[in-house]
């Protein structure tokens, strides 16, 4: 069994949970004997400046993704990087810069483009970098070209930017298509959705042979908002990699507790509820620092809000963290809070728990479907959020029991199990396709 995986982020260049999920799932698939050909756009580091070096397939596998002992772990995985730039969270300025550099490095060759039909609905991609839709189209056509040199049994596309590529490859190759819904436009944008993105999502969900949702919460949105036939949806939960890299953190003597928010600072993640709750916590308990780790379009608004609430000196903004810094901040944290307004899954709490940090998660999250040993609140209920934060900080036994049971619960969430579910889906689809062809021949 070989799957052609279409993604848009993969460690170490990630901006959110999608890359982590793709990496975990790929490793899981590898361990259950499914071969994976992973197709990626060019990766741009988040702290991108002018010193960008583009990764090509050869050097990406050498120094980043498949290095050291991982090489043997990912025996059946090959990486392919296509010269397209899919960065939904990049600003327009950064976008132009990258596209310009790409043109210089790799002059547009008309032969690169294959006609992929009318796979992109028209309209403007408001709010995204100017060229994003063009790049989505480019990624799709390059993916088709790439797929012609490769053998595979099934296509698996992750989130809307790769859906057109998935549909196009499926149309060219006749292979079954699985689309994976990690996040919907409604999660990212609330009710003010980008119509073009919605249309792409809808086309992908309807055109796929099977839809994988990361939670029942997301399944509900797929059915209600996109009109997807519930019978073709499967829920496959994300998991967590338990091999936590030991990171040395200098034991700093402190009498302050640290409450951590880690994620994109966007409307979806609810940073303002975190700050409002922080204000309430501080009225009861002042030996505490609230750390906001991440970047996003609400960052300056959040800094101002902290100041307006008069809690500025208790709030620290770290900017975007990656690699060992993520582990370090988890090691320092006494509590992790995910106040997301709408979270299809939410891998970060699992990562926090793998660092033995107790978590408070919003009930409006997919991960709350799989965790019982976590504290849960409605994202809007800042009183209750503060109540629970204070409780964890004040009562060591509460923290201890959450940690003990959390460790046991985490072990039940393995990428191997998620991969097994995907493998079962692939097998069913391939068999169904064969039967169809067989019938036709008769």
């Amino acid at each position: 069994m070989k799957v052609l995986m279409l993604g848009w982020e993969f460690p170490p260049y990630i901006s959110g949970g999608l890359g982590t999920a793709c990496y975990g799932l790929t490793r899981g698939l590898d361990s259950v004997g499914v071969k994976v050909g992973f197709v990626l756009p060019v990766s741009i580091p988040q702290d991108f400046h002018s010193h960008v070096t583009f990764k090509t397939p050869s050097n990406i596998s050498d120094d980043t993704v498949v290095k050291g002992k991982n090489k043997s772990l990912l025996r059946g995985v090959t990486m392919h990087v296509l010269p397209a730039f899919l960065q939904p969270y990049a600003g327009p300025e950064q976008y132009d810069q990258v596209v310009e550099m790409m043109k210089q490095l790799q002059p547009a060759d008309e032969n690169d483009y294959l006609p992929v039909g009318d796979i992109l609905p028209g309209g403007e991609a408001v709010g995204y970098g100017g060229d994003l839709m063009e790049q989505v189209r480019r990624y799709a056509s390059l993916a088709v070209k790439h797929s012609q040199d490769e053998t595979f049994d099934v296509i698996h596309a992750h989130d809307w930017m790769t859906y057109p590529a998935g549909l196009a490859v499926a149309a060219y190759s006749g292979k079954p298509l699985v689309v994976h819904l990690h996040s919907t436009e409604f999660d990212r944008s609330g009710e003010n959705i980008n119509q073009q993105v919605y249309d792409i999502e809808r086309a992908g969900l309807h055109g796929a042979d099977r839809v994988i949702c990361v939670s029942y919460l997301t399944r509900g949105i797929a059915v209600k908002r996109y009109g997807v036939n519930p019978e073709k949806i499967e829920v496959v939960y994300n998991a967590v990699d338990l091999e936590v890299k030991k990171i040395h953190t200098d034991p700093i003597k402190r009498d302050e507790k640290i409450v951590l928010f880690l994620g994109r600072i966007t409307m979806q993640k609810g940073p303002e509820y975190f700050l409002q709750a922080a204000k309430k916590v501080l009225s009861k308990f002042d030996k505490v620092r609230f750390v906001i780790a991440g970047s996003g379009d609400l960052i300056s608004q959040s800094v101002s809000l902290a100041a307006e609430l008069g809690i500025g000196k208790h709030v620290a903004f770290t900017g975007f963290l990656r690699g060992d810094d993520v582990g370090r901040i988890f090691n320092m944290a006494d509590l992790y809070v995910m106040p997301s307004v709408s979270e299809p899954f939410g891998i970060a709490p699992l990562e926090a728990m793998s660092h033995n940090v107790p978590v408070i998660i919003s009930k409006q999250s997919g991960v709350s479907e799989v965790l019982t040993h976590a504290l849960k609140v409605d994202f809007w209920d800042i009183d209750e959020m503060a109540n629970k934060i204070v409780a964890v900080l004040r009562h060591p036994p509460l923290r201890r029991v959450l940690q003990q049971h959390g460790q046991i619960e985490l072990r039940k969430l393995s990428w191997k199990d998620s991969a097994k579910k995907c493998k079962k889906i692939y097998t069913e689809l391939v068999r169904a396709k064969k039967q169809k062809i067989h019938k036709r021949r008769k």
Binding site: K284, A386, L398
Partner: protein, 390 residues
Amino acid sequence: MASVVFYFQVHQPYRLRPYSIFDSGTNYFDDQANGEICRKVASKCYLPANALITELIRANEGRFRVNYSVTGMAIEQFKQYCPEVLESFVELAKTGCVEFIAETYYHTLAFLYRRDEFIDQVEKHRQIITDLFGQTPRTFRNTELTYNNDVAEVVEEMGFDIVLTEGADHILGHRSPNFLYRPPNCEHLKMMLKNYRLSDDIAFRFGDRAWTEWPLTVEKFTGWVDRINGTGYVCNLFMDYETFGEHQWDDTGIFDFLRALPASIIGTQKNDFLTVSEAADRYPAEGELDIPHMISWADTERDISAWLGNSMQANALYETYAITDEVRSSGDETLLEDWRKLQTSDHFYYMCTKYFADGDVHKYFNPYQSPYDSYINYMNILDSIRSRLP
């Protein structure tokens, strides 16, 4: 002769209202939920079951006998929310075929922490039972049948003749729960042990269609009881009263089963029904039973881990009893009363994480969404109690 000894536990805790760290105020109890639950259980269980038991006592001309332990918490809520339940218990007491058993008024684990507090709570319960039902209890049962040798010693000193506990396999070994026993450190106190197989056949398995013995008929059950003849004296059927109509719903046929059972048992001519005291007066203790460690009737472990199995529970109990002297000497009756209601074992049971992930019987009885929520709420209220100390 095998004597069936029915003992029904009647208890309702004062459930706590959601109390956040930002709350002040000293009304800690969820009056609305408590009233609703009390009235619901009254109409599904207490009222129809009491009516049926009264009817059965009359129909069998006094040969049907039962025992109850009604906690102070249940009595107070009956007075408050459904006085007719209390009246029906008073009527039952008047039949002369019903024995009332003593326990801690507040249904607590005080014995584990403070002997003086424990004795006061038991005396308070003995008093209210005497006042309400006109009989002074001779029998003691500790909360959820928690028991060890020390309990026996203390309650014998308090003047009780009989103590009830669980017939747990790990303490009985090859011995049978169908005899009476004596604690090693007591003069005259007799122990009566729950026959958990036959008790649980009614209390837990009666409506379970996956059970190989389902449906449980009166004839079948009478046969099982009859087999005790020659191998024991008593068949101790101890269970929550809510078994009738609440844990086993009316449509399982549980009331019909209860209705037909007395005549069937008595009809064998070899077996009868007794109150606990009558059984203890009629039968001798057959041997000594040494129970150094705490046992109970809860879960498969039959130990106290349902209330004291994790650090949150240990912490909450410790903190509650850490202020015992200050509360008791405060002279503030309302404070004492609130603090005692907080000791009710149910609050600690809600914090149990043992089977939380599996969603079983613990969840059914739990008003909280998680054991963590229950601990947080409890500790906030305890904070408020502490702030009221002089």
